[in-house]
């Protein structure tokens, strides 16, 4: 295996795996996350903290919904669309879900091709992911427009509990913002891959550090996380 400067040297004795390995990794004065670069570790720490942010949003939504004496609006109807003479419940959200899952799939493939150092395939898949993400945000903008025109406000709506609007705008707004930043992030990484920055060790304009193909995986962690959050929003806000 190739040696690297900031990885633990492979000359060290082979470390135990499993539970024994976990205890050993945490219990001595050393770095706990063996073989994990700082970039990846920091992205995970960010994602765990972001989990708490979204956790709190969903919790406050739960609290509002459980404690209101007014019936909660029926999401199935609210987010339904009238297509071809029939009312299809929740259809827009279903399409958005499939679009986001597809983008997660193409992202996973991009990470895989990045580790194979296949520049073109990686860049192309990143662009596809970005396009699907942009499509998601577009549909969300449509959804917001439709609901606002129907009279949904953070302080009230025509169908029931007034907290519905506040929860909806807060949760989907925050998620949509994450997707939007993800798309920008994706385009930046795609450009770097396409240009071959990770092959010729070109320094980043912002950090002045040399990039590596691992950046694609770190980008992927963020993107999959956005999809992961949507899984919970879909279940708790739209389906419940």
């Amino acid at each position: 295996m190739a040696q690297t400067s900031d990885q633990v040297s492979a000359a060290a004795p082979k470390r135990p795996g499993g539970w024994l390995g976990m205890v050993a990794d945490w219990s001595s004065d050393q770095r706990s996350f063996k073989g994990v670069s700082w970039g990846k570790a920091m992205m995970w720490i960010f994602l765990v903290s972001d989990t708490f942010v979204f956790g709190c949003f969903l919790l406050s939504y739960m609290t509002a919904r459980m404690s209101t004496t007014v019936p909660w609006p029926n999401a199935s109807k609210v987010f339904g669309l009238h297509i071809g003479g029939a009312d299809i419940p929740l259809i827009l959200i279903a399409i958005m879900t499939f679009v986001l899952i597809s983008s997660s799939g193409s992202m996973a493939l991009a990470v895989n091709y990045a580790y194979r150092k296949n520049r073109q395939a990686t860049a192309l898949l990143l662009i596809v992911t970005a396009l699907l993400g942009a499509a998601f945000v577009g549909m969300q903008a449509f959804e917001w427009t439709k609901l606002i025109s129907e009279g949904v406000r953070p302080w009230g709506n025509p169908w029931g509990a007034p907290q519905f609007g506040a929860s909806f705008f807060m949760i989907t707004g925050f998620h949509g913002t994450h997707v939007t930043f993800g798309v920008i992030f994706l385009l930046i990484v795609a450009r770097k891959v396409w240009r071959g920055d990770y092959d010729d060790g070109r320094r980043g304009f912002f950090t002045s550090r040399r990039g590596h193909y691992e950046s694609v995986e770190i980008m992927g962690l963020y993107w999959h996380f956005v999809d992961l959050v949507w899984v919970f929003i879909f279940a708790f806000f739209y389906l419940w």
């Binding site: 994990v36 765990v48 989990t51 919790l59 739960m62 459980m66 004496t69 389906l239």
Partner: protein, 124 residues
């Protein structure tokens, strides 16, 4: 760190030796396609829960099962947690579980709020 990772062969043959800093992560593409398809199936299933109009505990149970399966697949395979060392895995997985305690607290609080609202606000 060598190869606690599942090196299940696959595309490994075509791959040139990885340069510095790139861990060996050549999982065969098939894994990703399989997960992708399952995510589609599970999403379709959870959409069908709404479409079919199932209500009550059956609805909530199905939603939660499909949700957890999807989340598990994404975290384990797409986010590569299945291939990480346990030290990192548990550092990531354990803290969010604390949210469940928060959920329990707020559920109790919500019930109390609802109770007082019903008691004082609905007669007037």
């Amino acid at each position: 760190m060598e190869n606690t990772q599942a090196q299940t062969g696959g595309g490994a043959g075509t791959v040139t030796a990885p340069a510095a800093h790139d861990e060996v992560q050549h999982h065969p593409l098939k894994v990703y396609f399989t997960v992708w398809i399952w995510l589609f199936i599970l999403s379709a299933a959870s959409y069908y829960v709404d479409y079919s109009g199932v209500q009550g505990y059956l609805r909530w149970t199905l939603i939660l099962i499909f949700m957890m399966l999807k989340a598990g697949l994404i975290v384990a395979i797409f986010m590569h947690i299945a291939w990480e060392r346990l030290a990192l895995t548990y550092a990531i997985i354990l803290p969010p579980i604390a949210i469940l305690a928060f959920v329990a607290i707020m559920a109790i609080e919500s019930n109390y709020t609802l109770f007082t609202r019903l008691l004082y606000f609905t007669n007037g």
